[in-house]
Symmetry: C2
Subunit: 236 residues, 2 copies
DNA sequence: CGACCATTTGATATGGATCAAGCGATGTGG
DNA sequence: CCACATCGCTTGATCCATATCAAATGGTCG
C-alpha cells in the first residue's frame, strides 16, 4: 500500500494536535436519557447478541463488558465494524435488519431497548428523535474515521487504533486491550502477524511498552500521534 | 483548463437523472419533500463548493452534474468519500463544520438549503426530522459499504466500484464514468496505474469493454458480481 | 505437568506501489 | 491546417510492505 517512511515524515510535519472528534466507536454515553428504558441482559464471552440480516428489533446499550460488531466476507475473512464499551449504543438500524453481527468479547451486560417502542416515542417526542439522529451521526463519524485508517500504512493503522483506544480506555498512561490480536487485525484490515510485529516495533522504538500482550503503556504519545496519519488528515 | 470535453456529458446527465433507482452513495432523492427549498447554484468543473472544517451552513442537493467529497491526508494523498449524482444530498453535518471538502467534477447545479432553516423546521416538524435522520442513515450505509471495499483486493474494489456505478448510472448496459481515473483511485485507495491495469485486465477477460476511457460496457455482470466480494459478504 | 490457545518471531512470496516511458486525444499558436 | 505542447490514460520494469507459511514461545487451566 501507499508507503511513506512515516518517521521522518512525521517530524517534518507540524504536529497538528488535532483533537479528534471525541467518541470513537460512536454513541458515547452523552445522554442518560431516562426515556430509554430496557431490559438488562447478560452475555458471556464470545456469545452472539444478534446476527446480521436478522430483524433489528432492539437497540442496545453497553452496561459493562465489550461488544464487537462484524461482517463476514465471502472469502471467510471477518471485518470488524467497531468495539463498543460501557455507555456506547450499538445495533441502531434504520432498515429492517441488522447489517452487522454483534457479539460479546468479554462477559458483558447490555440494555436491550425495544425498537418499536423507540420509534413510536420518536414520532411525537422530538428529544428522542434527536437522540436517534445523533446516535446515527456518531456512528457515521466513527465509520468515516475508520475508513481513513484503512488507507494508511500498517504502522499508521496500529498507531491510530491505539490513539482511538487511548481516548476511550486510558487509565493513567496505560490501555488495557479487551480484544485479541485477531480482533485488532480484523478491525484494521491487517493480519495478526502484522499487528504483532508493528506493536513489537513500536516497543523497540520506545513509543510504547508491552508489559503483557493485553496491556499497552504509552510512552511517547507524540510519536504515536505523528504516526497516526488520520489524526491530521487536513494536510499541509 | 476551463474547458471540458462536454461531449456525452450533457446528454448522459438527463438520462441518469431518471434511470437511477437506488440508494448507493446514499442520500438518494427518495423524497421530493417540498419543505426543502433552497437556492439553485451553478458550479463549474473543478471548482470547490466548500472546504473541510468550514462552518457547515448549507445542505446541498445535486440538480445536475457530479460532485465529489474528499479529505486530504497529511502525506498529500486524497481520499474521496463519495460521488454524488443528481437527486443526491451532500454536505449534511451534525457537528458545526464540514468534515470533507466538496467540489464539482463536471459543470453542475446544486440546490443550497440553509441549515439553520432546516434544523429550526426539524424541531417541530417531525417529517423533516425524519428526513434528516434518513439522509444521515443513508450516508452511513454508504460509508459502511465503502469501508468493506477498502479491505478487498484491487480487482474486487474495481468490480465493486463498477457495480456501484451500475446501480446509479447505467444506461442500457453501459456506464458513463463522469470521474477521472485519479478520482476512482482515490475513492478505492489504489493508484491510477492499478485502476487502469485492473480495468484492462477485466477487458482482456471479457468481463467489460472499454470503447473509451470514460465508458464501460458491462458484458458479464455475473463475473463482476462474483469479483465484487462486498456484494455477498454474508459468506457461506 | 501437559494440552491448548494466543502471541511472537522467522523465512519467503506476492500484490500493488513506484518509477519511467509511451500514446492518443484535445487544444494552441503560427 | 499543421507542428507542438498538454493532459489523461495505459503499459512496462522494478521494488517493497504486508501476506503467507511455518515454527517457537508463553500463558492459562484442567
Amino acid at each position: 500500500m501507499s508507503m511513506q517512511h512515516g518517521l521522518q515524515n512525521g517530524s517534518s510535519r507540524q504536529v497538528a494536535a488535532r483533537t479528534r472528534n471525541e467518541s470513537a466507536p460512536a454513541t458515547q454515553a452523552f445522554m442518560g436519557s431516562n426515556k430509554l428504558t430496557g431490559t438488562p441482559m447478560p452475555f458471556s464471552r464470545n456469545t452472539q447478541i444478534y446476527g446480521e440480516s436478522e430483524p433489528a428489533d432492539y437497540l442496545y446499550k453497553v452496561v459493562s463488558g465489550v461488544i464487537r460488531t462484524y461482517r463476514v466476507l465471502a472469502d471467510g475473512r471477518r471485518q470488524i465494524g467497531g468495539f463498543y464499551l460501557p455507555g456506547d449504543f450499538f445495533g441502531l438500524e434504520v432498515g429492517d435488519d441488522y447489517t452487522f453481527s454483534a457479539d460479546a468479547i468479554a462477559d458483558s451486560k447490555v440494555l436491550a431497548i425495544k425498537r418499536s417502542a423507540l420509534t413510536a416515542l420518536a414520532t411525537h417526542d422530538n428529544e428522542v428523535a434527536q437522540l436517534l439522529w445523533k446516535l446515527t451521526a456518531n456512528e457515521l463519524q466513527h465509520v468515516q474515521d475508520h475508513t481513513l485508517l484503512l488507507v494508511e500504512t500498517a504502522q499508521e493503522r496500529v498507531s491510530g487504533f491505539l490513539m482511538e483506544m487511548a481516548k476511550r480506555a486510558l487509565v493513567g498512561n496505560q490501555i488495557e486491550l479487551p480484544m485479541s490480536r485477531q480482533d485488532i487485525a480484523d478491525y484494521l484490515g491487517l493480519t495478526i502477524e502484522t499487528v504483532s510485529r508493528t506493536l513489537t516495533h513500536l516497543e523497540k522504538t520506545s513509543a510504547i511498552e508491552l508489559p503483557s500482550s493485553r496491556v499497552v503503556v504509552l510512552l511517547k504519545r507524540s510519536t504515536l500521534n505523528q504516526l497516526d496519519g488520520s489524526a491530521r488528515y487536513y494536510a499541509a
